[in-house]
């Protein structure tokens, strides 16, 4: 009996060991397969990035060597594509322990800049001496970055480097000497760009001046915290009423320094208001209510009327609605300013209406405060009929009106906004009212939520 029991115990233990071992082995195998798959994607990103840099260097060299603007336009647009690929590959590298932001910015601006130069030549303009110089400098830098990457690669040794050791790295864990030298290599690349890459000011969205934009619409004197509180209550229609609680007032230090105020109404679940009032001039920058409307009781037409009335009561009567989006039981309406019948798109205000009772639950005037100023608009040189003749022949024109539009570099242009259809799809084509150039095309996409522009 005793012997039998011992054998059974032994057998069970063995079974457990074998089973446990098998289970561990299986897990290990699965983990390793996942690691190799991850490694493959990192290796691809690294080697593709090297290829991108080599291509960028060649393409920029050819743009400098080409005597034909047609060819040069092709090379420069290829630079734009290849720079975007390089950005994406760099973004996939597990080098988060070193700061690669300048490299990312460099690649984005390189592509953006070449795109703008290509566009300029496509319009029949010649490159200026400064632009040739800039191109030559960018060309030289891509060569240096490529050389830097090759140097990193040669430091990897015959067996290469396993990037996943970066990705699975735990906080504060030491890197191996090889990994450290590779991290340092990337760090050096970024540092060199920080020291040497030029500040690029040009007409593209990634140009340095776009980020450093200052608000144009902030008028008035500095206000106190108490005044800000009054303005907030007034804006929400709570001034002189009872039954609300004001939280601590914070201060923000962004592009528009503001007082941040939270207001909670007592009683039923009416949500909490968060509202920012600018320190200069006491303008409401934005407002958000945390309430989630549970049902839709009012029509979209009525909701739109509520939004218009809300703005009119707050002295923004000249705004015209330019688009609506319905999301759940809420309707968000975009408004643009209007001067002498001209739509001013950069002066943008947005209002969200709760569809259960028509209350305004969100407001945003950041765009308006950044852009609004007294504009000196040029006289249109084209008539609406002339503008309509500039659009594609196959376009069936529905409506034409004057509008000021913001370009991607924040420059503003007075255009004829021609709305028309091509093969059943709707478009807005912007024809410069002074030069007659086609500046921009937006496609209007009808969705259940509303019309979106793409």
């Amino acid at each position: 009996m005793v012997n039998v029991r011992r054998y059974v115990a032994l057998g069970l233990t063995l079974l457990l060991l074998v089973g446990g071992g098998w289970w561990l082995w299986q897990n290990q195998r699965r983990a390793r397969a996942t690691e190799y798959a991850l490694e493959a994607s990192y290796q691809r990103a690294f080697f593709d990035l090297m290829k991108n840099m080599e291509d960028l260097n060649t393409l920029l060299g050819k743009s400098l060597a080409s005597g034909s603007s047609g060819q040069r336009i092709m090379f420069l647009t290829s630079v734009w594509h290849e720079a975007e690929n390089a950005r994406s590959n760099l973004g996939n590298m597990p080098v988060g322990m070193v700061n690669m932001m300048r490299s990312q910015q460099y690649l984005a601006q390189l592509g953006d800049y070449c795109y703008i130069l290509a566009e300029k030549q496509a319009r029949g303009l010649e490159l200026e001496a400064e632009e040739w110089q800039q191109l030559a400098q960018l060309h030289e830098q891509t060569r240096e970055i490529y050389a830097g990457l090759r140097e990193i690669m040669s430091g990897m040794g015959e067996k290469g480097f396993q990037w996943r050791s970066f990705a699975s790295l735990q906080r504060n864990k030491k890197l191996t000497p090889q990994a450290q030298s590779i991290a340092d290599g990337f760090g050096k690349l970024d540092e060199r760009l920080r020291d040497q890459a030029p500040t690029l000011t040009y007409d593209g969205p990634f140009s340095d001046h776009v980020e450093e934009q200052e608000p144009k619409g902030l008028t008035g004197e500095r206000i106190s915290e108490a005044e800000a509180r009054e303005i907030a209550l007034d804006f929400l229609g709570l001034a002189g009423e009872a039954g609300y609680k004001i939280g601590e007032v914070g201060k923000t230090r962004g592009r528009i320094p503001a007082y941040s105020i939270t207001i909670e109404r007592e009683g039923e679940d009416r949500g909490k208001f968060a509202i920012d009032v600018s320190q200069q001039g006491g303008h409401v920058v934005w407002m958000l209510n945390s309430r989630l409307p549970r049902e839709s009781n009012i029509s979209l037409t009525e909701a739109l009327a509520r939004a218009e009335a809300f703005l009119a009561e707050r002295g923004l009567a000249k705004m015209v609605p330019t688009g609506t989006i319905r999301e759940g039981n809420r309707l968000s309406v975009s408004f643009a300013a209007q001067e002498d019948g001209i739509i001013i798109y950069p002066d943008l205000v947005k209002v969200t209406v709760a569809l259960d009772d028509g209350e305004i639950i969100a407001y945003d005037a950041l765009g308006f405060l950044m852009a609004h100023h007294q504009r000196d608009l040029p006289e249109p040189k084209l008539t609406p009929e002339e503008a309509e003749k500039k659009v594609a022949r196959q376009m069936e024109v529905q409506r034409t009106r004057l509008a000021v539009i913001p370009m991607s570099n924040l420059e503003e242009k007075l255009c004829y906004e021609v709305r028309g259809k091509v093969n059943g799809d709707s478009y807005l084509v912007y024809i410069n009212a002074v030069t007659g150039d086609e500046e921009k095309i937006l496609q209007l996409v009808e969705t259940e939520a509303g019309t979106r522009t793409m």
């Binding site: 973004g91 230090r253 934005w286 945390s290 947005k350 009808e446 969705t447």
Partner: protein
């Protein structure tokens, strides 16, 4: 003889009970698995179906998940601000040019590293916050970083210029 018959049926009864229990446990398991769906209850929670020509749908899906995993329990404006930081990064030359590129940049966000990004429970509030940010609301005033002052481990993050504090997060450039 008399005693055996009940014992036999007793055994059969026990066997049947055990089998029923196993079936029940399996059924509950399968049911909850089905309820969860591939991404932890998104389908069950909302009726937000993809629409043709809805360009922002994928971005909302990702942003709402980010809000759910990074800003759960934060005030609504704090949730909008977290989503707005992602949107700001997409527009900034220093970061990848798509929402997915920004979110899945290696080492960029804790929830993506530790998997809570996929298990987070997305509610209607998170979706609304994501939409509000995509529609242009930005309580962070163009911030590119946010961190929790209590748990932030990188000393580098404190070299950033602080723009505002909302709930438990600091937002900066």
């Amino acid at each position: 003889m008399d005693g055996e018959k009940p014992r036999g049926s007793n055994q059969r009864l026990r066997l049947a009970l055990a089998a029923a229990l196993v079936v029940l446990v399996l059924a509950v398991g399968v049911y909850t698995r089905l309820q969860e769906g591939p991404y932890g209850g998104w389908e069950a929670e909302t009726a937000y179906a993809p629409q043709v020509g809805e360009p922002n749908y994928d971005d909302i899906w990702l942003l709402a998940r980010m809000v759910a995993s990074e800003a759960r329990g934060e005030p609504y404006e704090g949730q909008v601000a977290v989503a707005a930081v992602i949107v700001n990064r997409v527009r900034n030359p220093r970061f990848p040019g798509t929402v997915a590129g920004v979110l899945f940049e290696p080492w960029a966000f804790e929830p993506v590293l530790n998997g809570t990004f996929w298990s987070a429970h997305v509610t209607e509030e998170h979706i609304r916050a994501a939409e509000q940010a995509l529609n242009g609301w930005d309580p962070s005033y163009g911030s590119l970083f946010f961190w929790n002052p209590g748990t932030a481990t990188s000393p580098w993050i404190w070299t950033r210029r602080i723009i505002t504090r909302i709930g438990g997060h600091v937002f900066g450039l």
